[in-house]
């Protein structure tokens, strides 16, 4: 792990086998804050939603237009190219290769872009209505192709008896080489679940290596370089955040702290970066200084979180988001109870909606994962 930190200047988009994945080394600060947070949760039952950072009252959130320039959406074409290189180099004879990323890790985009660049046909996931009806026609209609790609396997099953039959037949055919050579994109939580349901131990599985703080600094500060005289200061130390300063501080840098908190996931780190960026209320003319808040303003779950909420969160992670109708089919309580729990979690900003599906919000992902780990639920390998 320490060796990885020393070599952090390596590529941001390093595709590795899942066994080689490692999370960024935790900083002393992230360890200390973890213990303080745990103690506070025990003592008070809840965590303060806001902690005061330096000069926080003199700072304000950035307008969405500016944020879109400073922290633009991640361009997944570069990891798609890295995936292509790795597949061509070492996995060109395998019938199926999995490409797994955690929530907000971009595997559907990466696999789709790779398929488009290599003119590989995409297999479409079945509609949720098909899964709810327990139909497996989508598998029966598949024919053998030279190469194919399935961007999001998590959309091909539901966690109930009927809902896993289709994906089981599909994977049996695919792993047996009856469909041709394929690349399957999959969410890391769905992958962990399907490993138990179907058994994927012998299937080559790739992922993106965890991002270190130094790489985050280069990515985020570099993304905003188009702006003239852009300087980002740390609200914790008051010092400017530059790639060089982060390199010098290495293990205790603000970005290493962020990387460790996000388990090296760029998609989640970007959400924190957008949320933490501030500008002075009174900006001096010609100057474009920005501040990075120290506090991670995230929705937290308390230790008293009940079973119903915990099971809803776990179900949503296993499926990488679900609509209300599908959620009610995979949790062991009534539709009404499931809806109530989902709405309560939405009010707490633990969940957010995307394309009609409810999913764990990026700013609460770390907290939810920690809760599920502490309660012995199945968690993802990343």
């Amino acid at each position: 792990m320490a060796k990885r930190l020393e070599n952090a200047s390596s590529s941001l988009w390093e595709v590795v086998e899942i066994e080689a994945f490692s999370t960024p080394e935790k900083t002393q600060r992230s360890r200390r804050q973890h213990y303080i947070r745990a103690l506070r949760t025990w003592l008070t039952g809840k965590r303060d939603a806001q902690r005061h950072a330096i000069e926080e009252n003199k700072l304000r959130k950035l307008p969405e237009v500016r944020l879109a320039h400073l922290a633009p959406p991640i361009d997944w074409s570069r990891p798609a190219a890295a995936l292509g290189d790795t597949l061509d180099r070492a996995f060109h004879e395998q019938p199926v290769v999995f490409f797994v990323t955690p929530p907000y890790g971009g595997h559907p985009d990466i696999v789709s872009r790779w398929a488009k660049a290599h003119r590989v046909g995409l297999i479409e996931a079945p509609a949720v209505e098909e899964l709810l009806a327990g139909e497996a026609d989508w598998v029966m209609q598949l024919n053998e192709q030279a190469r194919w790609a399935l961007p999001a396997l998590e959309r091909c099953f539901l966690r109930n008896h009927a809902g896993i039959q289709g994906v089981r037949v599909f994977l049996e055919r695919a792993l047996g080489g009856h469909l041709g050579q394929g690349v399957i994109g999959c969410d890391s939580w769905s992958y962990a679940f399907l490993k138990h349901i179907i058994g994927l131990e012998s299937v080559p599985t790739l992922t993106l290596q965890g991002v270190e703080g130094e790489q985050l600094a280069e990515y985020f500060i570099g993304a905003g370089r188009g702006h003239s005289a852009l300087t980002v200061y740390s609200a914790r130390t008051g010092e400017p955040l530059s790639t060089e300063s982060q390199k010098q501080r290495k293990r205790e840098s603000d970005f290493q702290y962020l990387a460790a908190h996000c388990r090296g996931q760029l998609g989640i780190a970007r959400s924190y970066w957008r949320e933490q960026l501030r500008e002075p209320v009174q900006q001096s003319e010609g100057d474009e200084e920005l501040w990075l808040l120290d506090a991670l303003d995230e929705a937290e779950l308390t230790n008293e979180t009940g079973d119903v909420a915990t099971l809803v969160l776990h179900a949503l992670l296993i499926h990488s988001g679900l609509c209300d109708e599908a959620l009610a089919e995979v949790v062991p309580f009534t539709r009404h109870e499931a809806l109530n729990a989902r709405m309560a979690l939405t009010r707490m900003e633990i969940l957010s909606e995307y394309e009609g599906r409810w999913q764990v919000a990026p700013l609460s992902y770390a907290s939810v994962r920690e809760l599920l780990t502490s309660r012995n639920y199945l968690v993802d390998p990343l």
């Binding site: 966690r159 008896h161 349901i197 776990h314 062991p332 309660r375 012995n376 639920y377 199945l378």
Partner: protein, 282 residues
């Protein structure tokens, strides 16, 4: 007169200072016991998994240590701890206990043994005689078991001497549950086995790092299937069994698998092996 003088020699001269010191030690003992019991229970109830059970296990042990410390401090203040005095004192005590307080003292001693051997600790799911439930409190004389019907059973520790204690999770989070199905299966036995395993694999309560076993046993009236699996938390055992039962019945019903009809006398015998946590039932 001579006998009275002999017993009086057992004790030290007790002045007001000694009485106050003993009183303070007793007060401190009670306070420490109350604080440690409440504090450890409070802490354990905020934890999950193995750590929760480890903290629970400290509850009776801490109380025992505090009591031993108090006795070690108080006894030399009251009694001259010579061999002759001890033999006399224990002889007199033994006589009284043998006649009047045999069971009470036996329970107290068994309580000390239970704090050391840990046949049960708070958070465990145990069956002692007819009582099955979660151990809520391990006291000096009794263990308090909360049954699924929300009854609190105070079971004296002396049961330890001659009654088997069935501990379903033994200080850990792994507790096997069994869901039973009585089916009339002709040639779909393999399909039923896979279907029941899938039902367990897709349960929201399933603990994935423990095995799932489907057992089929042929009976004169049909086939007795059992799913043996583990919930994430022992407290979810009844919800887990219910979830397995409800969803398995739905899957089997949709596939046209019929329930076996038991003859009345067999049905009465089978009452002992209905669904429940995996342990002998009374």
């Amino acid at each position: 007169m001579e006998e009275r003088k002999k017993y009086a020699e057992l004790f030290n001269d007790i002045d007001s200072g000694t009485v106050i010191t003993v009183g303070l030690i007793l007060l401190a003992t009670v306070l420490l016991i109350v604080l440690s019991q409440r504090g450890l229970n409070w802490l354990a109830n905020r934890l999950h998994g193995q750590l929760r059970f480890r903290v629970f296990a400290l509850v009776p042990l801490t109380r025992l240590l505090i009591l031993i410390a108090a006795i070690v401090l108080i006894v030399p203040m009251i009694i001259d701890p010579s061999l002759r005095n001890m033999v006399t004192l224990f002889g007199a005590l033994g006589l009284a206990i043998g006649f009047a307080l045999k069971d009470y003292v036996s329970s107290l001693i068994a309580g000390v043994v239970s704090a050391v051997e840990l046949p049960y600790r708070p958070g465990d799911w145990v069956q002692i005689e007819d009582a099955y439930g979660e151990v809520k409190h391990v006291g000096m004389r009794t263990v308090h078991i909360q049954t699924p019907d929300d009854d609190l059973v105070a079971m004296p520790h002396l049961k330890l001497w001659d009654t088997p204690v069935y501990n379903a999770n033994n200080g850990g989070p792994s507790l096997q549950c069994v869901a039973s199905f009585y089916l009339c299966v002709e040639d779909a036995a393999g399909w039923v086995r896979q279907a029941l395993k899938d039902v367990a694999l897709t349960s929201a309560y399933l603990r994935f790092d423990a095995p799932i076993i489907v057992v089929a046993e042929e009976k004169p009236w049909g086939t007795h299937y059992r799913i043996r699996a583990y919930p994430v938390d022992p407290r979810q055992q009844f919800l887990f069994i219910t979830d397995l039962t409800v969803r398995a019945k739905q899957v089997l019903g949709q596939a046209g698998i019929k329930t076996a009809h038991l003859p009345p006398d067999t049905a009465l015998d089978a009452g002992e092996v209905t669904s429940g946590p995996s342990k002998p039932r009374g």
